[in-house]
Symmetry: C2
């Protein structure tokens, strides 16, 4: 049995969709236990209409909520009885609690995880690591997708290590790691990426395939895309914007042609729905926060039940595959100082 | 009549597709004159099979070619009789020559334009500015999409000015300028973008709409996306990779469903061809190099005749709309030093 804590009050559709997502996950996975933190009255009202295994769902009442309007650091310090802070305290203190999911404010989840759970020893900068579909069958993990606007070369080495461990935990045997820069040649990029490139070349345990460009991220030719958090965030959100624009342009063209419109209505609507689902990475699972000493999954703020369900299953799988242990093991196996990667 | 010089030997499909593109452009636009630089024998062999207005096409013979394997700076200095260097010399010296198009090496075109034509006074860093389709009707101009891996805040101000002038030249009345960062809040980004944000807020003549994210680039809500050349290059190539991945995923899903396959074959094939054309920004026109004292358009290395034709028409339109004069005028109207943006 794997116990995952869920912030019932985080996100645009809390608590209703969050609670429904928990119930869906319990149905999908018999070895999952969920602890909901939040307003017990509101949570119970949603639960009242649902059928679920009561032995595997626990509610911990909290009186406060951290919103997007709160300043993260202050909110984590002051709102001690918020669903987020209570959840993170439990995550830290309860050895049985293996992971945490929230659709709340990214800043608050990141800050809270840092302050209340703490980093993995040796990792100075935890990073956000979402998965995207690729043009081939698999997925690609982007790390860092936005936790750190400013990075040092050593941080990018940590991202490569954590991304590799995470991709392995999800079944990729020897993850191919690319460094996202403005060209594939070895010398491309600014000094940060030039230095990171040299370090990654010599980093043991990493299958570094060299510099890659934005166009390679979703090609299926790499499994882990290492980025500084600034350009990684731009890359991630550009994939989102482009996919949305492409779908809109397709719809516009389809509706401008009578034949295409007919073909769409008669034959293609279900296929397009499936495609939309695949493209919309937000809706199907969350972005894991790597470098924290427990599994933390940030689900999109607009998450509905199916997304929360996916995030819970993802957190369980990461915990079951001992992702934290794997990162620690990989870190123990490399002497970053020896290859010239240091914090200073 | 507008005279545009075309490097007949640059690109993967030179000279055949380049020459055919020139002929297509002459047919499409009666007020265009094209000067081809390159191997006269090879060019004439292609021209022999084509019908065109001989009075509007001139060939200047050159004995050398600069390839992707050449080191740009050395090649520009040494290969004095190359199609690129001869073209740029003519562009600089001939007042009637209003623009230049090449599908050759980006590095060589950029270096050559800097060394042989020179910058607009006041612009320290010329920038690459391609156009992308948006989810709405229009286009968005990304500047800088890769000429400068490292930038200063003042460079980003210049990009905003040049992008605004360019969008205006192509019919956008009051171009909305966004600064691409890792979040929409004013304080987002690294120090470079934070400082650039403050400068752009006060820059006269610019309709600055604030920070935007990667997802906003193609939304149609902005006309000019200002980027440092590093993350701009990643954003541009990510749109390319994502569009390609989306189309592949769509094809995969269509072919996995009998009904969808039938619908595609019967009704939708022409629509999808049209969509592919719109999405493939490479194939339809090139990226203008702004900040050089004449119009320079870099067509994609894999350009075929239709793309060369589009690039020629684009160069003509930019020249006819006096883009260089507009940039100079805008620069004269702002005192960048006064708002704290300086080169030092």
């Amino acid at each position: 049995m794997t116990k995952i804590i869920l912030d019932a009050m985080g996100g645009d559709n809390a608590p209703e969709e969050i609670v429904k997502g928990a119930v869906a996950a319990l149905q999908a996975e018999k070895e999952l236990k969920v602890v909901l933190t939040g307003d017990e009255g509101k949570i119970s009202a949603v639960l009242a209409g649902l059928t679920y295994d009561k032995a595997r769902l626990e509610v911990v009442n909290c009186s406060e909520v951290i919103t997007n309007d709160d300043v993260p650091t202050a909110a984590i310090r002051q709102k001690k009885d918020s669903s987020l802070v209570v959840a993170l305290k439990m995550l830290k203190e309860d050895d049985d609690a293996k992971g945490f999911v929230s659709a709340g404010s990214t800043g608050a989840v990141l800050t809270g995880a840092l302050l209340r759970v703490g980093r993995i020893r040796g990792i100075s900068r935890p990073a956000v690591c979402p998965a995207l579909p690729t043009a081939q069958e698999g997925k690609v993990y982007i790390i860092d997708a936005g936790a750190n606007a400013e990075c040092k070369p050593v941080n990018l080495c940590h991202f490569a290590i954590m991304g590799t461990a995470y991709a392995r935990a999800f079944g990729v045997k020897e993850p191919r790691v690319g460094l996202v820069t403005n060209g594939t040649e070895d010398h491309k990029g600014d000094p940060l990426h030039q230095e990171a490139h040299e370090l990654l070349k010599t980093l043991p345990g990493i299958r570094f395939v060299g510099n890659v460009e934005g166009r390679d991220i979703m090609s299926g030719d790499i499994d882990v895309a290492v980025c500084d958090g600034f350009s990684g965030n731009i890359a991630l959100k550009t994939t989102e914007g482009t996919a949305a624009a492409v779908m809109k342009i397709i719809k516009k063209y389809i509706s401008s042609s009578f034949m295409a419109k007919l073909g769409y209505a008669l034959f293609m609507r279900p296929t397009f729905k499936k495609i939309k689902k695949v493209m919309d990475y937000n809706k199907y699972g969350g972005a894991v926060l790597l470098g924290i000493d427990k599994v933390v999954v940030k689900s999109h703020g607009s998450s509905k039940a199916d997304s929360i369900c996916a995030s819970l299953l993802q957190a369980k799988e990461a915990a079951d595959n001992n992702i934290i242990g794997s990162i620690k093991e990989m870190l123990a196996g490399v002497d970053l100082e020896a290859i010239g990667a240091s914090e200073s």
